[in-house]
């Protein structure tokens, strides 16, 4: 064992509340698989967890290069976990490039597990290392456990007669085995998974199982003195019930299926491959027995147009994409708004503009969602805050779309789409149904008026095929009742108002405070996937004695009616976002409040510590607080009566 064990700093805590582990390797090393399986075993052990897969846009980037590094981070613990963790406690580096890219994130005193077999001259060159960092003392402030995982894997799978190249494919399983031992996780679920995955190739399954067991045994029997000890982490205290892990993409898919069932409609999903949204198309394509039709269209435009066509014919039309694809769909969204047909548009946001950062997360499509159309084209927008939350939000999107006859945009992001967390499986019997209704008789005496609105401002939904209700709709401005072409000035004014009033009148739940008091010095207002880091940062700040609250907004448009009043109960408003301050602008515009931006556009989620430091700046004289004084907002801006509009 070529360790450079060094106990200079803390090392791993004896009984940690939570541990952050990052598996990093080459794109072809199977790190996402390793992370996924470690996640499963952690969930089965009853720990709360959050994950953060971080992989390159290239499918198989050249081996050993810095840009080909793929990583998977998991934060798990015996208390509630909301984020994938700031700095890893443990970094598994399968090659020099993985070490180089991820080292900066590692906690001082953290543990590095490295495969010396991959620290060859060639790989060191590719990672631009002049000397082997495992040997030159540059890792002195960490604990290093370095040994030849490659060799040990080859040895472990020798009985199966695999060539070196094939044998090395099991390296990730060997490493996973060691990780399972380190955190006292059961191996059986992984055995089962491997057997199922390689059902028709039992020798491959057996080789992988052998590698896994060997890694586990290595931890158990080798004298891993120094840095590595087995840690036992008690299960988290969670609400009783049935649990599973779920990613955001899965949750959106299941939520859409549930939403369609609650609306009592078949679902039509039009999609086009795009990262990171494709997973929703893949999930739904396997759920045909739930009355789901999936259609892989020729482009993003056709995907949404086909979905609108299906809604027109009486199904629940759904489409999904990411920013660049949403841009292409924009004209069709306008038609959906104009013809007032139900439609759910899922935007799994990624770094932009243009192609941007396909596999990295960002929240920079908020303006696009709320404002990004020609004409006055109001559309409801709602945002999921976590992978499991996406389930409820997808149902809510279906409800609004069908009840109000409108397109709805559901915002998630690359982080939510790919990350996994434990999810208490809900009981469908507890869901409130919202059956869609179709008009089958004239709605105005003997006349049929396709645009006569109900008390919610919604027009009737009429399926082609309904006798006696033939009518024409389209994107041209139409008469407020008959729907016939009508460009007259008064009519356009009234129709513009009617579309605006309908969306503004959508009933959304009152805004609650996620953490802290309903009034105070500082409100940290977030939306979407910043929920976890904001929540933890606010929790820690409250513990330090700060008067700070966390408000997390799901309904971006229209906003909860009480939000304006709620915000006015705080001296300061801080809006952390993974963009340049888009929600901040909307809040300022809607409520004339002095919302301050805290922005980040690095393609990486916020860290708890950086938010905590920003919060601290608002508080002075509180113990352990390094922040400075922030001037109170004496100059009150004019108040807006009536709240959210």
């Amino acid at each position: 064992m070529a360790t450079a064990a060094n106990q200079a700093e803390s090392g791993l805590p004896e009984t940690p509340e939570a541990i952050v582990v990052r598996f990093a390797g080459d794109s072809g090393d199977g790190m996402q698989l390793t992370g996924g399986q470690f996640t499963l075993s952690t969930a089965l052990a009853g720990n709360d967890l959050a994950t953060f897969p971080d992989f390159p846009a290239e499918i198989r980037a050249p081996q050993g290069t810095l840009f080909g590094v793929s990583a998977f981070q998991i934060n798990f613990g015996s208390r509630s976990i909301n984020t994938a963790g700031d700095a890893p406690d443990v970094l598994v580096a399968m090659n020099p490039a993985a070490l180089k890219v991820n080292l900066a994130a590692l906690k001082p005193g953290g543990l590095i597990i490295a495969d010396t077999g991959a620290f060859t001259k060639r790989n060191l060159d590719k990672a631009h290392y002049e000397a082997n960092p495992l040997e030159d003392g540059s890792l002195a402030k960490f604990d290093v456990l370095a040994f030849d995982i490659s060799e040990k894997t080859i040895e472990a799978v020798k009985p199966f007669g695999l060539g070196n190249k094939d044998a090395l494919r099991s390296k990730n399983m060997w490493t996973l085995g060691l990780a399972l031992w380190m955190f006292d996780r059961p191996r059986e679920p992984i055995h089962d998974w491997l057997k199922a995955k390689f059902k028709s190739k039992t020798d491959i399954a057996d080789a992988n199982i052998a590698a896994l067991d060997a890694g586990h045994a290595y931890g158990e029997t080798a004298e891993l003195a120094g840095p590595v000890k087995q840690l036992t982490m008690p299960p988290v205290q969670s609400e009783p019930g049935l649990y599973r892990t779920i990613t955001g993409a899965e949750a959106v898919s299941l939520g859409l299926v549930a939403g369609a069932q609650l609306a009592e409609l078949p679902m039509f999903f039009g999609g086009y491959p795009i990262t990171p949204a494709s997973a929703i198309l893949h999930h739904l394509a396997r759920l045909k027995e739930f009355g789901v039709t999936t259609f892989q269209a020729e482009d993003e435009i056709a995907a949404i147009c086909a979905a609108i066509g299906a809604s027109y014919a009486g199904q629940l039309g759904v489409t999904s994409s990411s920013g660049p694809g949403i841009a292409l769909k924009t004209e069709a969204i306008g038609l959906g708004i104009m013809t007032e047909l139900p439609l759910v548009i899922v935007n799994s946001q990624r770094g932009g503009p243009s192609t941007g950062l396909p596999t990295k997360t960002e929240q920079s499509d908020l303006y696009q969602a709320v404002y990004g159309r020609n004409g006055d084209a109001p559309m409801p927008v709602i945002a999921a805050r976590s992978p499991s939350d996406a389930f409820e939000v997808a149902i809510e999107a279906c409800r609004i779309a069908t009840q109000y006859m409108t397109p709805v945009m559901l915002l998630t992001d690359g982080y939510i789409a790919n990350a996994a967390e434990p999810w208490k499986v809900p009981d469908p019997d507890t869901f409130e149904p919202f059956p869609a209704s179709f008009l089958e008789e004239p709605n105005d005496g003997d006349n049929f008026l396709p645009y006569k609105r109900d008390e919610k401002g919604a027009r009737p939904w009429v399926k082609p095929g309904t006798p006696g209700l033939m009518h024409r709709i389209g994107g041209i401005e139409k008469h407020e009742l008959t729907g016939n072409i009508d460009y007259s000035p008064d009519n356009h004014q009234r129709m513009t108002d009617a579309r605006k009033n309908k969306v503004e009148g959508i009933i959304v739940p009152d805004q609650d405070v996620a953490l802290g008091e309903t009034t105070g010095k500082l409100a940290v207002v977030g939306w979407g996937s910043t929920y976890g880091p904001i929540h933890q940062a606010v929790r820690r700040s409250i513990a330090k004695g700060c008067s700070v609250s966390h408000i997390h907004v799901r309904h971006i448009w229209p906003m909860p009616k009480n939000l304006g009043e709620l915000l006015k109960g705080f001296e300061h408003i801080l809006v952390p976002e993974m963009n340049t301050g888009q929600f901040k602008t909307v809040l300022r515009d809607q409520f004339l409040v002095d919302a301050q931006p805290l922005t980040k556009t690095s393609g990486q989620p916020f860290q708890i510590a950086e938010l905590e430091a920003e919060i601290a700046k608002f508080f002075d004289g509180i113990d352990g607080n390094e922040g400075g004084q922030v001037a109170a907002n004496d100059q009150q801006l004019p108040s807006t009566e009536g709240g959210a509009k």
């Binding site: 089965l44 059961p186 599973r244 020729e298 056709a302 066509g309 009486g314 009518h471 024409r472 994107g475």
Partner: protein, 344 residues
Amino acid sequence: MNEMTKIETTLKDWETDQEVRWCPGCGDYAILKAVQRTLPQIGADPKNTVFISGIGCSSRFPYYVESYGFHTIHGRAPAFATGAKLANPELDVWLVTGDGDGLSIGGNHLMHVLRRNVNMQIMLFNNEIYGLTKGQASPTSREGTKSPSTPIGSYDHPARPAAFALGSGARFIGRGFDVSKNLPDVLKAAHAHKGAAFIEIFQNCIVYNKDVFNDFAAPKGAEDRQLWLEDGKPMLFAKDTKGIALNREKLCLEVVDLTDGDWESAGVIVHDVTNRSVAHMLIEMPFGEFPMALGVLYDDPRPTFEDAVIQERKMASEGKEANLAKLLGKGQTWTVSGTAQDPV
């Protein structure tokens, strides 16, 4: 078309109360009448009939037919129609598009609806010009077309709608022109074809491209310039004094003169609507040297997209229960009871 119950209607039943807003004398009027004349003849049911269009003069069409209608956005009608058809395959869908809508901005969608073979009738009104935007050259405009956007004449090579359709995998290709008395017959044949039926309809834009088709469509001398194709019949024109034969040396078509109407010895081809190679040659026949090929050029059905989708859904659902509770709790789960946790 679908196997539908035939409904008795008259032309009047298919007229809406909407004022038609095309220019007086526009070829679109004649096409509208031809369609309204055809619908009763095929026993179409207004409640199941849907006209779907994009943007342009032709795309106003749905407003004038008393059925269901959807005037969508520029070029995308095939995608809307595909979604509607997959949601309800019983609908009898007519797609209305033009040379700009269908071949410029919407060329991609037109290609894919044809290759997928979604069961519908696709009428492309070809007037070789952008009408509604006031007369710019279109993708089918002939070289040298002077227009506001091409003041000294266009220089791009025109697209050929029927050739595009065939290349995209269309299994039915018909051709007609606005004022032709035969247009309803072409429409009927298109409707009888199960699958995507493409009909190129030459249409006279009397304001921006007046009489551009007169070389073959003008009544005077029409018999010499129009070849109306009929399945199983020899390809004859000019009052049966001329025919189309295959030049076996050059492997191309040629015009042959008949003596005493003896087409067989002149080698005139008998039209077989299922012959794709001949269809290709008919579509590509240069007008002038040859007459304009009209009628049903190609008709060879194959399974439709929506049938395949329905079949796939059926197979994928077989023996599976649509149980939401089970779906939500799928995969590896664990239960929490009090504080102890057990993997399931």
